[in-house]
Assembly symmetry: C2
Amino acid sequence: MSLHSAGWREVSRAAPVFAALGDETRLALVARLSSEGPLSITRLTAGSAVTRQAVTKHLDVLATAGLVSDVRRGRERIWELELEQMEAARTYLEHVSRRWDAALDRLKQFVEE
Amino acid sequence: MSLHSAGWREVSRAAPVFAALGDETRLALVARLSSEGPLSITRLTAGSAVTRQAVTKHLDVLATAGLVSDVRRGRERIWELELEQMEAARTYLEHVSRRWDAALDRLKQFVEE
DNA sequence: CGGATATGCAATGCGCCGGTTGCATTTGGA
DNA sequence: TCCAAATGCAACCGGCGCATTGCATATCCG
């Protein structure tokens, strides 16, 4: 078994998305956006524990992971969710679950025979 | 809007799980386990780019997040997936998606009226 | 027993991450 | 025009995450 199997390509795509979601502050931002809709940086900062600069950086991280996108409206930047990557992550977890179930089935059969 | 809304409790539970999945090496380990079934540390190390110690640490991280569990068998430690937390993560993403869709609907309705 | 295999424990190094502070820049509006 | 609001840019810092190396311990087996 080498690094090339087990879907390494998929892994290196999914990991950054999970990494982006793996921070409380960022995940909270995602939660805010999902429940309140598109918001500006200042609005997101109000109700967050950290500085506006921190919020900005976190939004950049999320954007790099493809989880959010921004649109300028006058002097403010409006951020909104981008579901594609999140769906991809969800699908990835689903695949893992399925393969694991299959592995357990094979194992069970192996034990029984 | 304060820190108490938008399901902060859920956020602080889900974040560590995503964080654990947000590393290529760890995600690769999860992939290996899901496709090949329960494996020992040495077997996992063979086919991984890093040291056995690194693998061990990563497994510890995954275990702390509740994503894997281990069983001793003689002189070796067998690791296997623990689907519950992964399912929880998947569900979390699903909820986010739903809320976002709802938010978009509200927004659309608001614009139209 | 004794060697080989599998794992545990500990110290160390270093880069990046999350956060802050200070100041500059753009834009809306009275 | 002039002020305030919203954001951008940059430097700085403490800590932790990822990985390594070296050595100790446990376990299997001939």
